[in-house]
Amino acid sequence: MSSTQIRLTTRTRRPWTPSQIVLTALGAVVSAVFVAPVAAALFTSFKSEAEAAEIPPHWLPQDWTGQAWQALFETGNITDWFVNSLVVSVCVTTVVLLVSALAGYGFARTEFRGKSVLMGVVMSGLMISPAVLGVPLFTTVQQMGMVDTYWGMILPQCAPAAMVYILYKFFQGIPRELEEAAFIDGAGRWRVFFTIILPLSRPSLAAVGIFTFIASWNNFLWPYMVTNNPDLMTMPNGIATVMNSYGIQWAQLMAGGLMAGLPLIIVFVFFQRQIVAGVAHTGLAGQ
């Protein structure tokens, strides 16, 4: 009795073999190389502007100061950008989840005229992005009068063929019998979709949601093209264009960059398992 309890409490650990020692040391060195740029940015954000541009440079600040962070909040519109980023990313994620789940289910499980043609057209959308068709997409959005608006930033990010494809593949794997049984009991299609299909696909929806949020939070090219008004910019865009425009102040720039980048990294630390599964899932779906 007591021996089983002991086995439960002390997790069996393998001994430190020589190969494990070497591998762990190697892992530590490589990790240090990967973390170094972010650490350097963090330290620099606590330097004074003069020290940040000093020759030769050094890693740690000689005088720790919060000047850069203070200036960031006092002078710029970084809080506006943060809110804009949040609004855009949340809206994009919500709309993408809703429309791509509906479309994925429609393509996987229902019949209608011209379905296969439409599916082919949607798949061709995998090759189109704002990087490829930026200029015509901009003139289209301009014609709709949506330049320098939230709608102009949000809506063009809401038609990702890749996400429809991922959910389409997933819905195809759900056994048909589940829905058939519900239909026989008199449930309508919409009810079946919302009460049977959606709860079953929570992991896939989480994957799509996580991936969409990361992509949208970090998106630079499209918001850069469609906004000129500094009050409407998102974090990546505002930091890159406004903060770079009047002579770079490195300490402030690093502080702003960390403010844009750290939220996702902190969320990652807490939801590591889900995010890793989500990214791997969306990536692997391309196979």
Binding site: Q20, V95, T110, S124, G134, T139, M254, G257, G261
Partner: protein
């Protein structure tokens, strides 16, 4: 009397019940148009319409205001194909792709092997290798711009060298490549890690029993089992690298780099459209780019299909 009535009615009821059941079952899967309608509406407005519009504009001399455009046939395409600037920028994007894709694939594989084989602290390796991918492109680029700046940058300082990374045309693209490796390798790393964890352990146990050493196990089990994922990683990286834009412009202060050496195809297109206001010409260049991307994507699909048929 009652019993006979029941024997008549009950089967009839049962028959109508099965009939309604079949109808309901069939109808359940009909008329799915409403499910796809919201997506198709957005897709038509923001993907298909811009594509068609781009094709139309590419045959005109439209400017940014969109007024007074007239049809000029294939002139834009003729001009683009004769424009050395277009070929140069296409060359830069291709050069970047050729450097990034092999490096990122090998590096991602090695990092995944490392993280997979260390028994302790798995989450911390995953965090360190993947975290840069979570930074916005512009933030990662600004960090490296600062690290690479001659004099005040820590990159040269740490290595004890004095390379003009951002101001010399033979180094500028390499600087962008190094930044890209650091920033995006985490994504491919995760794909490899997931694939490694999916290889059944009994394969390795059987090989061990047969006396295969670690090297043989890697060459004869790990690498063949990772072939599909490698194809995927390479394909995704090629498509992403050809669309190079964010890192290069931010690291070069929104310019084309020393002696135009980091001007990518996307940057060239956007300059034509938004700086020179030549929307018609920019559309023609975009369509050429779309064709290139489509050819790459279709080539991959074709390769996959032939391989599938070969294994069958």
């Amino acid at each position: 009397m009652t019993t006979s009535a029941q024997t008549v009615i009950a089967p009839a009821r049962a028959r109508t019940a099965t009939a309604t059941a079949t109808v309901r079952r069939k109808e359940g899967f009909q008329h799915g148009g409403w499910f796809v309608a919201p997506f198709v509406a957005l897709f038509a407005l923001f993907v298909i319409w811009p594509l068609l519009r781009g094709i139309w504009l590419s045959f005109t001399d439209a400017n940014i205001s969109g007024e007074g455009a007239s049809f000029i046939g294939l002139d834009n395409y003729r001009e683009a194909l004769d424009d050395p600037m277009m070929w140069d920028s296409l060359g830069h994007s291709a050069y970047f792709t050729l450097l990034v894709v092999p490096c990122i694939t090998v590096l991602a594989f090695l990092l995944a092997m490392l993280a997979h084989h260390i028994e302790r602290g798995k989450w911390i390796w995953r965090l360190c290798f993947f975290a840069p991918f979570l930074l916005p492109s512009t933030v990662a680029a600004n960090m490296w711009q600062w690290l690479f700046t001659q004099g005040i940058g820590l990159f040269n300082e740490t290595l004890g060298i004095d390379t003009p990374w951002l101001t010399d045309k033979s180094y500028a693209m390499l600087a962008v490549v190094i930044e890209t490796l650091w920033w995006t390798v985490g994504f491919s790393f995760l794909l490899y890690l997931a694939a490694l964890q999916g290889i059944p352990a009994h394969l390795y146990e059987a090989a061990k029993l047969d006396g295969a050493n670690a090297w043989h196990r890697m060459v004869h089990i790990t690498l063949p089992m990772l072939r599909t994922i490698t194809g995927l990683v390479v394909a995704l990286q090629v498509l992403a690298s050809l669309q190079l834009f964010d890192q290069a412009v931010v690291m070069m202060d929104f310019g084309p780099g020393p002696e135009l050496s980091t001007r990518s195809f996307v940057q060239y297109t956007l300059e034509q459209g938004f700086t020179s206001y030549r929307v018609g010409y920019a559309s023609a260049v975009s369509i050429i780019f779309f064709v290139i991307i489509a050819v790459v994507a279709l080539a991959r699909m074709w390769l996959l299909r032939t391989r599938e048929e070969a294994t069958r």
